[in-house]
């Protein structure tokens, strides 16, 4: 039983961290309509930034500043934000699939830089030896994981509340206006370029925060953590959960990550011995089918976007419109 709880704590931690990243992407895609194909670059910038700033001194590569942990995490977020600002300045004039391709390219470039800039990032070996905060006090075992989970949940809650407030604020309405019709928004005297950039950077900072927590949790990051598969996973979570709905984004993170890990567990447990060797491949097929099925029968996601009437100074009114995109 203790094992089950211990595993659930572990699972919830990873799912919550991924959930934070999905919330960041939801701000970009769900609310503003920015097709960010380079989620993993922000995620990686956060993870690498945090570990380099907060880790112990190491020979062979940059980093090891041993900063106070919250500062290191903040540094990781700043790194993600700066990267997003540069990328945003260069690419946000692009729309839809063009933006997706450009940001995807940035993410691949990011991974390659991390892999090859051995003197800065440790190369393919990655950054190791990070001391997780409060480890002296809490030890390494279950207590640590439980406290860490509590910390992650607090962060998740803060991000969630922030984004919920943002969505119902006039700024949230502006984001949706730009998403729906940029020309119309411009005609009302708004500056879509600036707003798109703000949304892109904010979303990326949130994704970077997730990356920082992820690196902290594993006390390790390597280029294998920033492969395009992560972008795909996070997108799958958002699409299944429901783009444009904060709650849906979170539910998607838990559901997809749950399906991803549960299918592996269930197959290893229940598949016949002869099939054990093929469960890895079967798992990929199952996950793919869930996503395809979702897109076919419920393209708006499990929790579709709610139509929100956001007006300052008055009580918020919400009505639900199924399939509003």
């Amino acid at each position: 039983m203790i094992g089950v709880i211990s595993y659930l704590v572990f699972f919830t931690t990873v799912a919550s961290i991924l959930g934070i990243a999905v919330l960041g992407l939801n701000l970009q895609w769900g609310n503003t309509g920015l097709f960010n194909g380079g989620v993993v670059a922000s995620f990686g910038a956060g993870a690498y930034g945090t570990l380099m700033l907060g880790g112990p001194a190491q020979d062979g590569h940059l980093g090891g500043f041993g900063l106070f942990y919250p500062l290191a995490l903040l540094g990781g977020m700043v790194a993600a934000g700066v990267l997003a600002w540069i990328v945003g300045k260069l690419t946000l004039r692009l729309r839809h699939d063009y933006l997706a391709i450009a940001t995807f390219g940035v993410a691949v470039a990011f991974e390659n830089v991390m892999r090859n800039a051995t003197s800065i990032t440790g190369g393919a070996q990655g950054i190791r030896g990070f001391e997780r905060p409060l480890r002296d006090v809490l030890g390494d075992g279950f207590t640590y994981n439980a406290v860490f989970l509590a910390g992650v949940l607090v962060v998740l809650l803060l991000v969630y509340v922030f984004l919920e407030r943002l969505t119902v604020s006039p700024f949230g309405r502006l984001l949706r206006a730009i998403r729906e019709d940029e020309t119309a928004a411009r005609s009302l005297g708004k500056s879509p370029d600036r707003i798109r950039l703000i949304s892109f950077v904010t979303g990326s900072v949130i994704i970077g925060l997730a990356g920082g927590l992820y690196g902290t949790f594993y006390a390790f990051v390597s280029p294998q953590d920033v492969l395009p598969i992560l972008t795909f996973q996070i997108w799958a979570m958002l699409i299944v959960g429901g783009a444009g709905n904060t709650r849906g984004a979170l539910a998607g993170a838990f559901l997809i990550w749950g399906a991803w890990t549960f299918s592996g567990w269930a197959l290893s447990r229940f598949a016949p011995v002869e099939a054990q060797l093929y469960t890895g491949s079967i798992q990929f097929v199952l996950i793919g089918m869930v996503i395809v099925g979702m897109l076919l029968w419920r393209p708006q996601g499990l929790f579709p976007e709610r139509l929100i009437v956001s007006q300052p100074g008055r009580n918020r009114e919400k009505t639900q419109v199924e399939g509003f995109t």
Partner: protein, 418 residues
């Protein structure tokens, strides 16, 4: 929601079935996190299971039958760490075999096995980062690998080049942790042996063409080519290398010791290609492994990491046998020295060998395990050195050209360091 409930109900039903079925004898679970969804990962898992089967045939380890619970890592650190955590927490394993990639093994080590006090034995992670981590005392003696550190492999590459009299060599290496380590070490070894490295070029996986990399390597007009690649990209790169007029003088790392590579490149182009590998010792156990493998799988054990995976599983199980039932991961890890003792009773890597080991251990003796990769002996950091072999491709597989005992390997490495 309805489907979710159905799935849950189904899972509950199946779980009730499976608990009913395993009530007979005592069973100890060990975990394995290996990339079974990748083509070269599946045989590594197969051969580990093969070792487990043999131990079960010999009566199990620690008085119990062994069940290996296999999870796929998808070569994704998140997935691998989650699988390892599930194995430790949900299946209660004290021994974990894996992973293959160092980028997966490392987070498993730092966030699952070391905090959980579980022994981790990898067949194939070669990164020098593990040695450093162990030197810093952060592995708690729980980490082992049966993959000889990259240093043996690279020193042999330099020896081949020196023996053949190549004056200059170009290097193509896989752009991952293993390849980068290899490239760095082999360049240093070539320099120490007085051989000029004309260029050292990284090769990324999954590219349709490696023309740019190959052209760059050809630029320095090297007398020979050193390849630290895997069969897939190795095949493409060598094809382009030859078609652009590159030399057929090639030195291959053990990762290319594969029939697939030989068939896809063509044996007629590989006449001057010499490979290096850590070797089987001249004892019956290595032949027994080969023979048993051929009998079981119908082909020679030529894929990367197979002998290592077999030894990893065997040594882990021998250590479990040495400490007996219900031992903690730390106890099992501590017992590894008992079963790889150079002064112990030699045992072979098969059913009979395991039985003999059980008897010796039960009598309070120690055992020298002579495995598929040689007399495995771990140093303080859980690393192994090994005898080496130089090989070449033939019609039926690979043939040995030269064999170097552990002593000769160590002497040659020492001579390079001067």
């Amino acid at each position: 929601m309805k489907t979710l409930l159905t799935v849950a109900a189904f899972a509950a039903g199946v779980s009730a079935l499976s608990t009913g079925a395993q009530a007979q004898d005592c069973t100890t679970k060990i975990g394995a996190t290996l990339p079974t969804s990748v083509d070269w990962g599946r045989p590594i898992a197969e051969v580990a299971q093969f070792a487990v089967d043999q131990v079960n045939e010999a009566g199990g380890a620690g008085g119990c039958q062994i069940e290996m619970v296999l999870r796929d890592t998808q070569v994704d650190p998140k997935v691998g760490v989650d699988a390892a955590k599930a194995l430790v927490d949900l299946e209660g394993v004290n021994v974990l075999l894996g992973a293959v990639s160092s980028g997966v093994s490392m987070p498993i080590l730092s966030s699952v096995t070391v905090p959980g006090g579980v022994m981790q034995m990898s067949c194939c992670s070669s990164s020098t980062a593990f040695t450093k981590l162990s030197e810093e005392g952060k592995t708690d003696g729980l980490w082992f690998r049966t993959f000889a550190t990259t240093a043996v492999q690279s020193a042999m590459g330099a020896k081949v080049a020196a023996d053949k009299g190549y004056g200059s060599v170009a290097i193509l290496y896989k752009n991952d942790d293993w390849g980068q380590d290899m490239a760095r070490l082999i360049a240093a070894d070539f320099a120490a042996a007085g051989i000029k490295v004309t260029s050292s070029v990284a090769v990324n996986d999954g590219q349709p063409s490696y023309r740019a990399e190959v052209t760059k390597a050809l630029g320095g007009e090297p007398e020979a080519l050193y390849l630290a690649l895997y069969p897939n990209e190795g095949t493409s790169a060598v094809r382009e290398w030859l078609s652009l007029g590159g030399t057929q003088n090639m030195i291959l790392a053990n990762s290319l010791k594969s029939d697939e590579f030989r068939d896809n490149v063509g044996l007629q182009y590989l006449g001057n290609a010499l490979g290096t590998d850590t070797a089987s010792p001249r004892v019956a156990s290595a032949d027994a492994f080969k023979a048993a493998y051929v009998e079981k799988f119908g082909s020679e054990p030529n894929g990367p990491g197979l002998a290592n995976s077999f030894d990893a599983a065997m040594i882990a199980l021998l250590a479990m046998e040495a400490v007996g039932k219900d031992a903690s991961g730390k106890d099992i890890a501590a017992a590894v020295a008992k079963v790889t003792d150079p002064d112990g009773t030699p045992v072979t890597a098969d059913v009979a060998g395991f039985k003999k080991a059980s008897e010796t251990l039960a009598g309070g003796g120690t055992v020298k395990y002579q495995g598929a990769t040689g007399d495995v002996r771990f140093d303080a950091n859980g690393d192994v050195s090994a005898p080496a072999v130089v090989w070449k491709f033939t019609d039926s597989g690979v043939d040995e050209v030269e064999y170097l005992s552990l002593g000769e390997v160590d002497a040659f490495i020492a001579s390079l360091k001067k």
